[in-house]
C-alpha cells in the first residue's frame, strides 16, 4: 500500500520539529487537566501559487507558504482558542495554556485512545504546484488568452489567472480522533471586456476542483472557459434594462444553485439553529419546500471543489439530506454544535486555517433532479425572467431574506427566451422561496468549481448545483417597470 495521508501529514507537520505521539498527548493532557471537556490540535501546512496574464503577457506570479497549529479547548458551550505559526512543542504548550483559560473549574474531560482512520480517498494526495512546469503553466495561460481574443474582434481586454493549493492537515482530538488529509485544489479564471460602439461589458468564466493543473487541459476545459467568458460579454453587449418587481423566475442549471446556498444552506447550519437565530430554527419535520425539492449537502463527490476526505475535525465527510421532498430533514453539524444539540457531526466542521476556529459549513450543496425537461419549464412561463449566471449572494440568517445577483439573464415572453437583460439582484425569503418551486428539471448540473463561501470572516471553497427550476414569484431588482 502506498504512503497514507496520515504518514504524509506526520512526516510533513510533526517530524521536522521532532514532535511525537507522547508530545501530542502531553499537550492535550495539559488542557484536560484543567477540566476542559475536550480539546483538539489542528496542524496545517499550505502552499499556494498563482499566475496572472494580462495584456497578452504573464505579468505576475506569487508563491505563499503558511504553516501552523491551532489549539482548541472546549468546556460546555465555551471555546478557548490559540494558535502558533511555529510547529514546535513549546509553542503548542503555550497555546494550550492560553486555550484552556476558558474552563471554569475542574472537569470531566478524558483523553481517549487515538484511533487512526484511513478514509476513502475522493482525490489523490498530489501537489498541483509541482505537477506542471513553470513554462507549461505560462504556455497554458497564453494559449487561453489567444483563444479568447480570436473569438471576436470586440474583445479588448483579457485577464487569465490560474492558482493551485497544496494543503496538508492533521487533526488530533481528546475524543480519540486521529486523522489527516492531503488536499489539492486548483482554480482557473478568464475575464474579458468586450467593446462595441462605446459600450463596454464584461464576461467571466472559470472552474477547478481537487485535482492538478492537467484538469484544465483535459477536455480543453481552459479553452472552454475562454469561449464562455467571451460569449457572456457579447450577450451583455445586447442587454436591455432588467425588469423591476415580482415575477416568475426560471433558474438555469449548475451555478444558479447559489440560490440554495443562500436561501436555505446557511440557515441550516447547526450553529445558527442551536442558538435559535436562524429563520429555520426548530423547523425539522416541517414543510419548507414543495415536494419537488430534495436538497443535499454532499462532501463525498470525487474531485469536487467542496469535497473533503475528512473535515477539519477529522470526521469523514458525508452526504447529508437537508430537505427531502419538501420536508426539512436535518442540519449540517460540526462536533461542538452536534454535541450541544444531541446529534452526531455530519462532517461539516470546517475552518479557513489553523488560525481560525471550525464552524458548521457547507461542502457541495445541491438539489436533486426532477422530472421536467428544461424546455417544458421555459415554455410554461407567460412572462418572466430566465437567469443562467450569477455573481454571488448573501443572506440574513435571522430574517431569512436573501439576495443573489444575476450576471446573465433573459426575458421570457410567451414561453420563449427573448432579450438578454442587464444584471440584477433577486431578493426573496429563504423559508418561503422553495415553497414556490413549481417545476424542477431533469438536468442536474454542479457548478464548474468556482465557489468561495464567507462566514464570520472565514473563506472556504464550496460547490453548488441544481437542475433548471421554476420559481413562481421572486422579486427582481431591475430598473424597468414597463
Amino acid at each position: 500500500m502506498s504512503t497514507s495521508n496520515l504518514d504524509i501529514a506526520r512526516q510533513q507537520l510533526l517530524t521536522p520539529a521532532g514532535i511525537g505521539d507522547d508530545d501530542l498527548n502531553k499537550v492535550l493532557g495539559r488542557m484536560l487537566g484543567y477540566s476542559v471537556d475536550s480539546g483538539d490540535l489542528y496542524f496545517q501546512s499550505t502552499r499556494l501559487e498563482s499566475w496572472v496574464l494580462e495584456d497578452g503577457i504573464v505579468k505576475e506570479g506569487a508563491h505563499n507558504i503558511e504553516q501552523g497549529a491551532g489549539v482548541r479547548a472546549i468546556s460546555g458551550e465555551k471555546t478557548g482558542f490559540a494558535y502558533s505559526d511555529e510547529i514546535i512543542l513549546p509553542a503548542l504548550l503555550q497555546a494550550s495554556t492560553a486555550a484552556r483559560a476558558i474552563a471554569k473549574r475542574g472537569g470531566e474531560g478524558q483523553l481517549q485512545a487515538w484511533q487512526a482512520q484511513e478514509p476513502r480517498l475522493l482525490y489523490q494526495p498530489i501537489d498541483p504546484v509541482t505537477g506542471m512546469s513553470a513554462s507549461e503553466k505560462v504556455g497554458l495561460l497564453q494559449q487561453v488568452d489567444a483563444e479568447a481574443r480570436r473569438q471576436d474582434a470586440r474583445i479588448k481586454q483579457v485577464v487569465v489567472s490560474m492558482a493551485g493549493v497544496h494543503e496538508v492537515v492533521l487533526v488530533v482530538s481528546s475524543d480519540g480522533t486521529l486523522a489527516a488529509d492531503v488536499r489539492p485544489l486548483v482554480r482557473f479564471n478568464v475575464s474579458v471586456i468586450a467593446e462595441h460602439k462605446g459600450r463596454r461589458e464584461q464576461g467571466s468564466a472559470g472552474g477547478g476542483g481537487r485535482s492538478e493543473y492537467t484538469f484544465f487541459t483535459e477536455e480543453d476545459r481552459a479553452l472552454g472557459y475562454a469561449r464562455e467568458a467571451v460569449r457572456q460579454a457579447l450577450v451583455n453587449l445586447e442587454a436591455v434594462d432588467a425588469p423591476a418587481g415580482p415575477m416568475t423566475v426560471v433558474l438555469g442549471p449548475g451555478w444558479p444553485g447559489v440560490l440554495l446556498h443562500e436561501a436555505v444552506g446557511h440557515g441550516l447550519e447547526g450553529d445558527f439553529n442551536r442558538k435559535g437565530t436562524s429563520a429555520f430554527s426548530g423547523m425539522i419535520g416541517q414543510r419548507v419546500a414543495t415536494s419537488a425539492c430534495t436538497v443535499v449537502d454532499d462532501g463525498t463527490i470525487r474531485g469536487r471543489r467542496g469535497s473533503l476526505n475528512v473535515d477539519d475535525e477529522g470526521t469523514e465527510s458525508q452526504n447529508t439530506v437537508l430537505i427531502e421532498k419538501g420536508i426539512l430533514k436535518g442540519y449540517m453539524q460540526d462536533k461542538l454544535n452536534a454535541r450541544l444539540m444531541g446529534v452526531q457531526s455530519t462532517g461539516n466542521g470546517r475552518r479557513e486555517s489553523y488560525a481560525h476556529l471550525p464552524m458548521p459549513r457547507m461542502t457541495n450543496t445541491y438539489m436533486l433532479a426532477g422530472e421536467h425537461v428544461p424546455e417544458e419549464i421555459i415554455a410554461s412561463v407567460e412572462k418572466g425572467l430566465y437567469a443562467v449566471n450569477f455573481g454571488g449572494g448573501q443572506v440574513d440568517i435571522t430574517s431569512g431574506k436573501f439576495v443573489f445577483s444575476a450576471s446573465e439573464a433573459y426575458l421570457i415572453e410567451k414561453g420563449k427566451i427573448t432579450s438578454p437583460v442587464k444584471g440584477a439582484t433577486l431578493i426573496g425569503n429563504g423559508p418561503d422561496v422553495l415553497k414556490r418551486v413549481s417545476m424542477v428539471g431533469n438536468d442536474l448540473e454542479l457548478d464548474s468549481g468556482i465557489g468561495t463561501c464567507g462566514k464570520e470572516g472565514q473563506s472556504i471553497p464550496v460547490g453548488v448545483g441544481q437542475p433548471t427550476m421554476r420559481i413562481d414569484s421572486l422579486t427582481v431588482g431591475g430598473t424597468n417597470t414597463e
Partner: protein, 459 residues
C-alpha cells in the same frame, strides 16, 4: 454584569500587547533584500508585519469564545530587469526567508518583460516617517475584555422584552507593527492598534424575527463609545426593524445611512483606480477633468490624519503619502494610482499602492433628520445585501432594508426590497451629504441623499 465567571483561579495568559522591537523586523527586511540581490535580482521590495491581540465573544451572559491571535507575515517582490515575481510566508526563520526569495526569483524567470514593472521612483520614497499617533495598546486582560463584552450584551438584552435572543457581543483588541523596505534604500515602519466592540441581538414580534448590530472601532479605546452604548444602539436598531414589510415597486429618493454610504464611494474609488482605467474596466473611463458629482461636492484624501483608521505615512510601495483632492467642485481631479498603473497611463503614482487613506467626503449642515426633511418622501436605507455593483457599466442593484419616510418622518420599517440605478447617474443625483460622519472606517462620510432610484418590492 453577569457574575460567576472566575478566570483567575488558573494561570491566565494576559492579552499579549507585546510586539517585537522594530529593529528585529528591520533585520528581516534587510535579510530579504540582501538575499534577493545575491540571488541576482536587480531590485526588490520587502514587507514584514506582526499582529497580536485577543478577541472574546460572550453570548447570553456567558463566554462563548476566547481567542488569542498572533499573526506574522513577510512578503517579497523581486525584479529581474522588468520581470517580476512575488512570494510570502508566515515563517520568519532564515531558511524560510531564503526559500521564499528563491520562490519569487524562480517565478520572475518565467514572467514576461513589462516596461511598466519595477519599484516606484526613488525620489518619491518616504524619507521621514511622521508619527501619526496610531499606536494605543488597550492593555486589557482577558477577564477585563470579557467584562466589557458582558456589559455590552447585557445593555442590549435589558433594553426591551422583545429582545429574545442574541448573537453575542465581541470585543477585539489588536496591535501591529509593519516594516517595509526596498533596494532604493527606503526603510520605514510604524506601530498601530485597532480596537472594536460589537453586538448583534435578535428581536421578535408577531412571529417575525429581526436582527441588527452596531459596533464601535478606534485606534485608541478612549475614543470609542462605551460598551454599554454599543449594546443599547444594537438593540434599538433591532427593535426598530420589527414589523418590517416589503414595498410596492416604485421610483423614489433614497438616503444611504452614513454607515452604508462609504460603499457608494467605494464604487467611485474602484472606477477611478488606475487598474480599472488601464484595463478599460470602468464606468468612469477617461473621466479625468470631467464632472462626476454635483458641483457642491468635494472629496479628498487625508493620509496623515492623527489617530484615524485609514492613516499611513507611506503606501505599500514606500511612497510618501500626502493629502490631496480627488473631487473638487464635482470634477475628477486625479485617479487613484500605484506605480504600475500610473506608468501604464503615462502618469505619476499618487501614493495609493494598497488603497486610499481616509477618503473624506465634505458635508453640508444637515444631520440625518435634516436630510429626511429634505427628502420628504422616500426610502432611508440602513442595510444593503449582495454584491450587485458592476464597475464596468456602473449598473447597481442590491438588496436593501430600512425605513419608509413620509413628511420627513419614519413611517415603518421595510425589507425584502431591492434598490437599483446606475452609479454614474446616482453620483450626479446626490442632493446632500449629512454631517453625521462615520469615523469608524477608512471612508469618512455622512448620510447621502440621492434624488431617485428604482425600488422593487413584492407587495
Amino acid at each position: 454584569m453577569i457574575a460567576g465567571y472566575v478566570m483567575s483561579k488558573h494561570p491566565v495568559v494576559e492579552n499579549n500587547d507585546e510586539l517585537p522591537a522594530q529593529s528585529q523586523l528591520d533585520d528581516i527586511v534587510g535579510l530579504i533584500l540582501a538575499e534577493a540581490t545575491s540571488q541576482g535580482a536587480s531590485a526588490a521590495d520587502a514587507g514584514v508585519s506582526v499582529e497580536t491581540g485577543l478577541s472574546v465573544t460572550v453570548r447570553l451572559g456567558e463566554v462563548e469564545t476566547l481567542e488569542y491571535h498572533r499573526d506574522q507575515a513577510l512578503g517579497v517582490t523581486v525584479y529581474f530587469g522588468n520581470c517580476k515575481g512575488s512570494a510570502s510566508t508566515s515563517d520568519f526563520n532564515e531558511q524560510a526567508v531564503r526559500e521564499s526569495v528563491q520562490a519569487a526569483c524562480d517565478i520572475a524567470r518565467y514572467t514576461s518583460e513589462d516596461d511598466c514593472a519595477g519599484l516606484a521612483d526613488a525620489e518619491l520614497m518616504a524619507r521621514e516617517i511622521p508619527d501619526l499617533d496610531l499606536y494605543h495598546p488597550w492593555g486589557l486582560s482577558a477577564e477585563q475584555a470579557i467584562d466589557r463584552a458582558l456589559d455590552c450584551e447585557s445593555a442590549a438584552r435589558e433594553l426591551d422584552t422583545r429582545i429574545t435572543n442574541s448573537e453575542g457581543a465581541t470585543l477585539s483588541s489588536h496591535v501591529g507593527l509593519r516594516v517595509s523596505g526596498n533596494t532604493h534604500g527606503f526603510a520605514g515602519g510604524y506601530r498601530s492598534s485597532r480596537h472594536s466592540v460589537s453586538c448583534a441581538v435578535i428581536g421578535e414580534q408577531d412571529g417575525q424575527m429581526q436582527r441588527d448590530y452596531w459596533y464601535a472601532a478606534a485606534r485608541d479605546s478612549g475614543d470609542m463609545s462605551s460598551a454599554a452604548d454599543v449594546g443599547r444602539i444594537a438593540s434599538e436598531r433591532t427593535l426598530r426593524r420589527l414589523g418590517s414589510r416589503s414595498l410596492k415597486t416604485r421610483e423614489a429618493p433614497v438616503i444611504f445611512a452614513a454607515e452604508l454610504a462609504s460603499g457608494l464611494f467605494g464604487g467611485f474609488i474602484s472606477a477611478v483606480r488606475g487598474g480599472s482605467q488601464y484595463r478599460q474596466s470602468s464606468f468612469l473611463l477617461d473621466y479625468l477633468g470631467k464632472q462626476v458629482f454635483p458641483e457642491f461636492m468635494h472629496i479628498h484624501e487625508q493620509p496623515l490624519l492623527k489617530k484615524a483608521m485609514g492613516s499611513a505615512p507611506f503606501d505599500a510601495e514606500g511612497v510618501a503619502t500626502r493629502p490631496r483632492d480627488l473631487i473638487r467642485d464635482g470634477i475628477l481631479e486625479s485617479y487613484v494610482l500605484d506605480t504600475y498603473s500610473a506608468r501604464k497611463l503615462g502618469m505619476q503614482t499618487t501614493g495609493n499602492a494598497g488603497g486610499v487613506h481616509n477618503l473624506t467626503i465634505d458635508h453640508g449642515p444637515n444631520d440625518l433628520r435634516g436630510l429626511m426633511k429634505e427628502m420628504d418622501t422616500g426610502l432611508l436605507v440602513t442595510e444593503l445585501m449582495g454584491q450587485g455593483v458592476n464597475i464596468v457599466t456602473g449598473d447597481y442593484s442590491r438588496g436593501a432594508a430600512g425605513f419608509w419616510v413620509e413628511g420627513g418622518e419614519i413611517q415603518y420599517p421595510v425589507d425584502e426590497i431591492t434598490i437599483a440605478g446606475n452609479l454614474r447617474e446616482m453620483f450626479l443625483n446626490i442632493v446632500d451629504v449629512g454631517n453625521d460622519v462615520d469615523l469608524r472606517g477608512n471612508t469618512r462620510t455622512g448620510s447621502v441623499l440621492v434624488e431617485k432610484m428604482m425600488i422593487a418590492g413584492n407587495s
